[in-house]
Symmetry: C2
Subunit: 317 residues, 2 copies
């Protein structure tokens, strides 16, 4: 049986051709052409689909050595595969930094400049200006997660004249953050931040960290933005924090269960905006992702190395 | 009759007290306390209300020497007063640069990241992501008006990784613009801009410059944003340009007649967002405006000079 390289993400014809030429000892197969019998023979997988979990666990994955996922967080992969030392995983960390950052500022500007409210009024041809438009200048933004995405948010925040606070495990300094604090301190202490943004990945350490306890320590009625993962938020506590006015508003793009159930109270809460896990969507996705895969497969084939975005088995990101 | 200093803008008590102390030879009177008989005696007017036009023209304005308006564009003042060489006018140019810029990027990000669409879908608890989210990186923005506001838009645009083109009367270089062109050239030539922003003041030279002719020369289906003045746009041509797909979208904050009439077709056009002339609204308005008035009145009283934002009678801004 020839070695199998399977492709399960958006890709262009010329990219498939280039992969086939590079990996000449492999059979290159698109996800749509995969049969159950192929799964135990896949060595390289470019792209992940959630139905693969069942297929690998049922059919086996003895040949699997490398998965290049097309997203950043790897928590949707089965734990058997995540913990298997024979399998390395690389992700697309970094390519989402710009679109996520842009969307975060979209949320903030909508709220500060009342643009969603004006859209609602437009439906009834209502000319009515609010009195309390806010500006980002001098506002304090605290970003949980000071990696690629957090740093890009901080870079733009500085351009908008904001005060930036980054949160990471160690509290080490990161470019574009005026201050950094370690996660435990940030979660335990009171803050007067105007804007709280979560970009943390889903790990055991981030489960339920945003609780009513945390929200009740915020003194400036901040807005809360979750573009990390839904596991970090206690849903009912977020609603309580909005209702008790510890928070003024929440923009949520990620949820414990996705799609968000149609009867989930987030949908109809007047202080919550829900978007369908789209913040990270990249305009030239097939090109941006292929750059990373191309760099990795070149070194994988030449010297069995994966230079870009190798996920730490220990940290989970 | 004592000299009169009238105040007709948002002001704090301590500011009124400070003005009264500074201008000790003047009677300081708030707009709400002005009688018809007061109008001929007003020498200094801080703030403008549109009903003053009739009152000055009826009662006379022989004493009037200086109007500090609380906005940027002075086109709402009567031409008799604008053209009177005895009356100097200072405006609030500059304080609106940041809020206008923030709102412009709010419009752009809403459109590029589909946030208004998701808000609409939220009403029916609909989880449905679009496929074509765009990013600002490498997009080309052309700004008509490269003064305080245009330069601030360009500064942020560079932070978002965009290509910036500024338009001013002479085509002279302006910071943060990669290129500048003169107005006649910019209006006559074809462009492949992704975003067109108008921040020009209302003058004879800017009447109806954005016509179907102009829009039809755009090759990249740009979005059009008007935060300057409504006189620049031929309303029916803008609608035609959207319907004929020369433009993909328009965000409009200013109009020929404000408030925009409830039966104006802009309100219900699916490719137009209307906001009620709010982009320039400043969060700490009474403080930001008072800084400028304070600098001017100090020099006016000491040496009859107005150092900040004196409006050119010739240019009209």
């Amino acid at each position: 049986m020839s070695k199998l390289l399977a492709i399960a993400t958006t890709i262009k014809d010329w990219q498939v051709a280039e992969i086939s030429a590079l990996a000449e000892e492999y059979t290159v197969r698109l996800a749509s052409d995969l049969t159950d019998e192929d799964f135990p023979n896949i060595e390289i997988l470019y792209g992940w689909k959630n139905e693969f979990a069942d297929q690998f666990l049922t059919q086996g994955y003895d040949s699997l050595r490398w998965i290049q996922v097309q997203f950043a967080g790897v928590n949707q992969l089965p734990s058997e595969i995540l913990s298997d030392d024979n399998i390395r995983i690389t992700n697309m960390s970094g390519i989402h930094a710009i679109p996520i950052t842009e969307t975060v500022f979209g949320y903030i500007l909508n709220q500060y400049r009342h643009l969603l409210l004006y859209k609602t009024r437009q439906a009834s041809s209502t000319w009515q200006a609010e009195a309390n438009h806010r500006s980002l200048t001098d506002k304090k933004i605290i970003v949980f997660g000071a990696g690629n995405i957090g740093r890009e948010i901080a870079r733009l925040a500085k351009a908008f004249g904001m005060v930036t606070i980054g949160v990471n495990t160690s509290g080490r300094a990161v470019e574009y953050f005026d201050t950094t604090v370690d996660t435990d301190t940030a979660l335990a202490e009171s803050t007067d931040a105007d804007i709280i943004v979560n970009v943390l990945p889903a790990t055991d350490a981030t489960n339920n960290i945003f609780s009513l306890d945390f929200f009740s320590r915020q003194t400036a009625q901040p807005i809360f933005i979750n573009v990390g993962r839904g596991n970090a938020v206690v849903d009912e506590d977020l609603i309580a924090a909005l209702d008790q006015e510890f928070l003024s508003y929440a923009a949520l793009d990620v949820f414990d269960v996705e799609p968000l159930a149609s009867d989930h109270p987030f949908w109809q809460h007047e202080k919550i905006d829900v978007t369908p896990h789209m913040t990270g969507q990249v305009e030239h996705f097939a090109d941006e992702t292929y750059k990373i895969f191309h760099a990795n497969i070149t070194d994988y084939l030449a010297k069995n190395e994966l230079p870009v975005n190798l996920v730490s088995k220990e940290k989970g990101y």
